[in-house]
């Protein structure tokens, strides 16, 4: 067991976990944050994506040890006081979520994309989200949602 200190969704956390435990399991089992999902367990699908020090990472590939001192944002940390984040609102309005299992990762990937490109082109959206697989939408509604979110402005 290793003691790991990190910040999750703005809260300081101290976790006792085996050093190689996956961040995904730390979030889901130790912190009861089940928004990040396991789709493949090998970094292909992005359903477990979270933000770590501002970078988009697949939490199934991150050992707990590596989280020491890091800032983690999960889907649970995006909405403030029940008010949906503009990206969440746009996904909801534009039909960007169907079955919803890829949605947490997809929304965090969008957040990361819009920080890099506030007004992304379609190509930038396609590339920015291509680490997150969605089997329901064919991505078209998701592109709409991202474009809407970029118009609303999400940088805050």
């Amino acid at each position: 067991m290793t003691t790991i200190r990190c910040t999750v969704n703005g809260h300081e956390k101290t976790i006792e976990a085996p050093p190689m435990k996956r961040l995904l399991d730390v979030l889901r089992e130790d912190l009861q944050l089940t928004g990040a999902k396991e789709g493949c367990g090998e970094g292909e699908c992005g359903a477990c994506a979270v933000l770590m020090n501002g970078d988009l990472v697949n939490s199934c590939l991150i050992p707990a040890l590596q989280v020491e001192g890091a800032r983690i944002t999960t889907i649970e940390g995006l909405a403030i006081d029940e008010k949906l984040h503009p990206i969440q609102q746009c996904f909801l309005e534009e039909g960007g979520a169907q079955c919803g299992i890829c949605t947490p990762g997809m929304i965090l990937a969008t957040h990361h994309l819009l920080e890099k490109h506030t007004q992304p082109t379609l190509l930038q959206i396609q590339e920015g989200l291509n680490g997150n697989l969605c089997r329901c939408t064919g991505y078209m509604r998701i592109f709409e949602a991202v474009q809407q979110a970029s118009l609303v402005g999400t940088a805050k």
Partner: protein, 770 residues
């Protein structure tokens, strides 16, 4: 009459959408029950054989585990779908790789993989078969005997129950033959199959989990546990995609988890990881279709013989009904004076294939729409003109002799789709540019239909029931077993109830499907929810409204508050109120299972899909560069959801055509990972232009027909038709990968162009005159 805002046809927010975007929706693996253990499955490592011994490695502390074998099954050792051939757990023999033999449970999830690996099973191997051809040979009989040897089901569908007269073949100007193949396809829902089961000696079994059809699992549990249905409770949790992959399979995993719960005395969670889900659960049936068509020189279809074969895998599961839908869709939206379809579902030692969006139709439609382009080329007509001369229209009779009494205008759809996609100009442009370009571009299309609802007398047998109750707070709540797994069931059913009850959309509730509380509204499959269940919701809502209006608590022209007050008064005075509606077969619907004739489906969706492709002659990769999907689907209940359904289906079908290949070795799926089974990403898809035409159907809620499966049918043949235009090579098998294109494009000149097969052509046709 109160004037209510139009809700049907608008796009209100997805009912459970807020929970999903917040990441709060509870999927089965997000749920933890007190004292819960975890389950795992010990599976066969060989495709076929007799189990000779099972040894437990002494290095594992087995006393900590619960171990379930077939001997622990209190009822029948069977997973029931249509036949009882499929054991819940193998006893003496195994018939496919990954066949479940033992089940393990332990309080610590992490120790299970090592324990599974420490169960050593020895086998006496038996010869195994892997293809339709090997199965047909019947050298090795792996299923059934005599007439049914290796054969789950056969159908003979003949128009007017008469064989094709010999003179047709003798007098036809052309006889065109072709063979077409499709591969297996993984549903690849992002949430794997998973359940949590509980057992109580008094109350029975409870299983909650990811699924499409809670009452299918109830039925399976009643047999495995020898319990009455009241003691088999099934609850659907939020379901992360399904596409048919959670239609029949939850009966397997649900029964397994429940056995572990019974023996361990703990709730047991059994959730597969990706590798296990892909290796062990159902996929789309691979197929082989052979066409032989008699055509006149002016391009009229005179007669068609279609041999349609699917590979069902090791057990029957749903193969007979998949075969049925594939059979009925095989003649497509064309007028055939004579048609014979011979269909069969064959057994192989591959894990059983099962339901997947389209359910047999994408396979037979792929074959037909490729074959239509071949016929056009043979006769010397354009693909458009050949279809125009043969498309069904209002008043015609289909291959099952169904009279098309509702308006059908495929000619118009074809005109519009080709215009919207700029088909003719693009065809000319590509023909002009391709000779001097390393990127060969092409455009092609497919015309097709898809029947909504269960086939033939299926809906009558299902006898679905829908209820709407008033909650103690006076709000209407819909009670159905129809499940939400992304397609929008919750939302559209609430829209229908809101519109009918003259209430705002947000006033309508829908219950979580829990078989102790909801009636059986049938399985959530077959593009039936909007049309069949939607209509029942409409009728139940009408009944609830009438009851309240008749009670004198409510008068016409009511507000939401009036309704709430009236509901509360009614409840106080009369007690609980539940309005119901049961399926009633339309009087004019007739179907004969013996002769395969009559009204195959109450309604059809009609479509023309146009694909534009680019084939890079340096990398041999084919990509879809633009896609136009025009469809007539009756009333569109929710434009955003409907568009999303079509786009998502097209994306899956592009994967089916160009990316997704199941690689089998000795019955093992060798690419059971997202790393090497390639589905389309956001960077792989073209712009998809979706257009609806709406001809309301009298059979569906507010005129709705089914749309869920339709988009799976057309893209693959449209894409391969476009690739033939681009390369002048006829590819007749999917998936079509760059290596397949490479092989044909770099082959010797003889094999590089399509062989129009003069040997099998009719009397006047030869390659020289074509």
């Amino acid at each position: 009459m109160a004037r209510t805002p139009q809700i049907v046809g608008q796009s209100p927010l997805r009912k459970e959408g807020k929970a999903k975007v917040l990441g709060r929706a509870q999927y089965v693996d997000d749920i933890t029950l007190p004292n819960m253990w975890f389950g795992a499955t010990v599976r066969s490592t060989i495709p076929r054989g007799r189990i000779t011994s099972i040894k437990f490695d002494p290095a594992i502390p087995w006393h900590e585990f619960t171990i379930v074998s077939a001997a622990d099954i209190p009822g029948e050792n069977t997973i029931v779908h249509l036949a009882k051939d499929h054991p819940c757990l193998a006893v003496t023999h195994v018939n496919h790789v990954e066949e479940p033999i033992l089940l393990l449970a332990h309080p610590d999830r992490a120790v299970l993989p090592a324990a599974v690996a420490a169960v050593h099973i020895a086998y006496e191997e038996l010869p195994a078969i892997y293809t339709i051809e090997e199965s047909e040979k019947k050298e090795h009989i792996i299923w059934g005997e005599g007439e049914t040897a290796n054969t789950f089901k056969t159908y003979l569908m003949q128009k007017n129950q008469t064989p094709i007269p010999d003179e047709i073949w003798q007098e036809a100007d052309f006889i065109v033959e072709g063979e077409y193949r499709t591969g297996a396809q993984e549903q690849l829902y992002i949430e794997n199959n998973g359940v949590i089961a509980e057992y109580d000696p008094e109350s029975g079994v409870t299983v909650r989990g990811s699924m499409q059809c809670p009452f299918y699992l109830v039925h399976a549990l009643t047999l495995v546990f020898n319990l009455p249905a009241e003691k088999c409770r099934v609850i659907q949790t939020e379901t992360g995609g399904a596409f048919g992959g959670k239609e029949d399979f939850p009966s397997v995993i649900g029964s397994h988890a429940a056995l572990l719960a019974m023996k361990s005395g703990h709730p047991v969670k059994l959730c597969y990881d990706r590798a296990e889900d892909m290796a062990a659960t159902t996929k789309r049936h691979p197929s082989r279709t052979r066409h032989r068509t008699a055509v006149s020189k002016d391009g009229k279809l005179l007669a068609g013989e279609i041999d349609f074969a699917i590979d069902g895998g090791a057990y029957a599961t749903l193969s007979p009904v998949v075969l049925s839908r594939g059979t009925i869709h095989a003649p497509g939206p064309y007028l055939w004076p004579h048609i014979t379809v011979r269909a069969k579902a064959m057994a192989t030692n591959i894990p059983p294939h099962g339901a997947f969006r389209g359910f047999g139709a994408p396979q037979s439609i792929f074959a037909l729409e490729r074959h239509m382009d071949k016929i056009a080329k043979t006769v010397g007509l354009t693909p458009e003109e050949l279809r125009r001369r043969n498309l069904l229209s209002t008043g015609d009779r289909t291959a099952t002799n169904q009279l098309l009494s509702d308006p059908v205008d495929m000619q118009h759809l074809l005109t519009k789709a080709l215009r919207d996609s700029n088909y003719h100009a693009k065809r000319r442009q590509f023909d002009h540019e391709n000779p001097t370009s390393t990127i060969k571009r092409g455009i092609g299309f497919a015309t097709f239909f898809h029947g909504a609802g269960f086939t033939g007398s299926g809906e009558r047998r299902l006898n679905s029931l829908v209820e709407i109750e008033l909650t103690p707070e006076g709000q209407p709540r819909i009670l159905v077993s129809s499940t939400e797994f992304g397609q929008g069931t919750n939302t559209i059913l609430c829209q229908i109830a809101a519109q009918t009850l003259h209430l705002p959309y947000d006033q309508i509730l829908i219950a979580q499907p829990d078989t102790t509380h909801v009636p059986n509204s049938g399985p959530t499959v077959a593009s039936r929810t909007a049309m069949i269940v939607g209509k029942l919701v409409e009728r139940a809502a009408q009944s609830l409204r009438n009851t309240l209006l008749a009670s004198s608590h409510l008068s016409d022209n009511y507000s939401t508050q009036d309704f709430r007050r009236a509901a509360l008064r009614f409840l106080a005075q009369h007690g609980p109120l539940k309005a119901e509606a049961r399926y009633e077969s339309p009087g004019n619907i007739f179907w004969d299972d013996e002769t395969y004739s009559g009204e195959a489906y109450p309604a059809y969706a009609w479509a023309v899909y146009v694909a534009e492709v680019a084939v890079d002659t340096t990398t041999y990769a084919a990509t879809v560069t633009s896609f136009h999907a025009l469809q007539e689907v009756g009333k569109v209940l929710h434009p955003i959801l409907a568009t999303g359904q079509i786009e998502g289906g097209i994306a899956q079908a592009i994967g089916y055509a160009l990316y997704e290949k199941c690689l089998w070795r000795n019955g093992h799926l060798t690419n059971n990972q997202m790393t090497n089974y390639i589905m389309p990403t956001s960077a792989d898809l073209p712009p998809i232009h979706v257009t609806f035409e709406e001809t309301p159907s009298p059979h569906g809620a507010f005129g709705a027909k089914g749309i869920g499966e339709l988009p799976m049918d057309g893209p693959a043949p449209a894409i391969l038709n476009a690739i033939e235009h681009a390369t002048n090579i006829a590819f007749n098998e999917i998936p079509l990968l760059p290596e397949d294109i490479f092989e044909r494009m770099t082959a010797t000149p003889d094999s590089g162009t399509e062989d129009l097969n003069p040997a099998i052509a009719g009397p006047v046709f030869s390659e020289a005159t074509a």
